[in-house]
Amino acid sequence: MNEIIEKRMLSEGVIQLTVYEPRIAAKCQAGQFFMLRVTDRGERVPFTFSDWSREEGWIRFIFMVVGKTTSLLSELAAGDYIKDLAGPLGRPSLRSHDTRRPSWGNDFEGLQQGGSVVVVGGGVGTAVAFPVARALCEEGYQVHVITGARTAELLILEEELRALPLASLSIMTDDGSAGSKGLVTAPLKELCSSRSVSHAIIVGPAIMMKFAAGTALDAGVPATVSLNPLMIDGTGMCGACRVSIDGATKFACVDGPDFSAASVDWAELMSRQRSYIDDERESHAAHQRHVQEREHENCDCFDESSLWARGFKKGGWAT
């Protein structure tokens, strides 16, 4: 059980939670993730760290409300608890942070120590891109960042990014309501074809990663992507997260989540991501009905299966 120490609504449906968890905060690295469960009957869902404080013992993550688990999370407030939180999981983005395993795949091909690199974050993917960019800055690389979103409201971490010693920061919105109008691929293409960068790290929805990686690769710049398949355990035990990398089956949770973009089978990844779409809708819809029913919390119509709802009140967890 971990206490939420801060909750911020970054925009409609985009939420940042800061959770007290000193063990994980002491260890997590850019690019790694954790699994959480909100309730006793909840799914195990992965989230990537967007920030942490080793001194104060907290970790932070950002999510968009899309299904039942994220709805449940969005209903929590500072002072509430998250049932289970396990991490850090996955391999750090920077090889230098992963000292024990012989590396393959995510070695930022073509990038020399102190070289020039571009980090691209699409939508909530910027939450993952930010700590990677920060780590690269700390390691002495020249870092360009491109962040994009549909509209100004959905842009996240702009301030934090501005505070980094970046070589450049490009902000893109589809509708031009902030930064420049257009997709992240426009500035990426410029950076890549002018040879100002020797590697691209791309994080975002699969479709965005596919196109952005295509842009970089077309310009002859190797790219790394952070894959986000469905996961269950996140520890390498089930294979739900498997992805085809150069035709070989790899597990994103233990072999990744970062992989060389040129090796990824995008169609397969996207197809697998959608495999439970109907169930997810059903689950989310049932939850939304349930939220309405919660008005009846104090009458008898509230059945046993709804008891967990009361658990959200601080300290009221049935363990």
Binding site: R37, G42, I232, C238, G239, S275, D279
Partner: protein
Amino acid sequence: MTQLNSDKQAECVQTSNSELPKTLPVTPSAIPTRRRPSREPRHAMANQPAEERISNFQEVALGYTLEQARAEAERCLQCKNAPCEAGCPVEVRIHDFISAIIDNDLPEAVAILKERNALPAVCGRVCPQESQCEATCVLARRGEPVAIGRLERFLADWDRQRPEEERNKTRLAPCKHKRIAVIGSGPAGLAAAGELSLRGYYVEVFEALHSPGGVLAYGIPEFRLPNYILEDEVEALRQARVTFHMNAPIGTVASCEELLDEGFNAVFIGVGAGLPKFMDIPGENLNGVYSANEFLTRVNLMHAYEFPRWDTPVQRGRQVVVIGGGNVAMDAARTALRLGAEEVTLAYRRTQAEMPARIEEVEHAIEEGVKLVELASPLEVVGQDGWVTGLRLQKMELGRADASGRRRPIPVEGEEYVHPADTVVSAIGTLANPHLREVADVDINQWGYLSVGEDGQTSNPRIFAGGDIVTGSATVIEAMGAGKSAAIAIDELLSAPDVQTQRRMT
């Protein structure tokens, strides 16, 4: 599809739940004389009827009644040299506990059983007795061996339903003021933790998942090993001063070396070999293809059969093909049936006779309607629009015996066909997890498992290991045996007065 031979069928007598006494008599009433061992066949154990059980997740085998247990115990010849005990990886004193049942002293029988086996309720249900203790029973030569596993289960269950204060309790040695970290809460870890706490150590178990038990929790289904049995065992360990840390993936959150630096005197690694192998054939990543681990984890650990009351879904296939012939394959096939599949087929490279699964599980699966396709090896998962539509199988035949003594399957040229399926579950084995290198900086053998000495010691003298992570996938009882012997070795190491050993440790 293979038929059961008739004597096996006779054994699967089915009784419905209601015919069994709800509680077993607690005070044993004396039986006057000990009868001579009989030649009658072993006593059948009641099962939930097949047509009923395929629509629920409740336990299939219902266990012996007191009368049945006593009658079965009396079949035992009480051989002086007890060859059965040599067949048991943890050398349970089978002879003596059966003798105690015959003498009608059940508390004593339980005490004898628990002295060597910390999890008898689990082992009585999942051990492959037919290839262990029962294989070496003298009666097996002339007919059917004593049903040792069923007696074990009976005793463990009898003990469980006793009032708390009467239940068999192990007495803990006085605290030795030393801390041991146990990594992984599967049978190896639980057995090591139990033995160490018994010997007076303060034990902390670190488990990556949110709930303890390893394969017992996420792999073996409810209908074979009900959750409450595992929960009770874990609770008993908690009461014996063992602390459980859930959600603690050792390796990334702390390595074993860091745990030693933090003040643990020794570490036991029992992380299992959980990484599922895939078939390495085209189409294996289509939607609808599962590893048995994923399929079973969704259902057992995450309760997908209660979706949407529980949040994790699972595909409820109509035509399911499971690849493999071990316990894992049986569990997956029988789980698929219970999720409502119309047809569940097991495709196995060899024949039923070579299946490594427990005989009882194969029988139960067939009774429940699982179809068997022998001598079939997967070539390709065929699909459409990203989803599975079938499995292309290669017909095999049995060639000469290989190193393991089993006849090697070889393909019959040109004989392939597509078996229609909307769900394919691959149960072809597991490997060590690549994150093992982060867990501890110790020697790993060529197959990726930890290399250890006889007592489980790794190349770091303070780090021990046992279970599947040392042997590759094996059995619950072997994992427990390894956990226990490593615990004893840890105790010896930490109690060694001689300076040499002490120095070797640092």
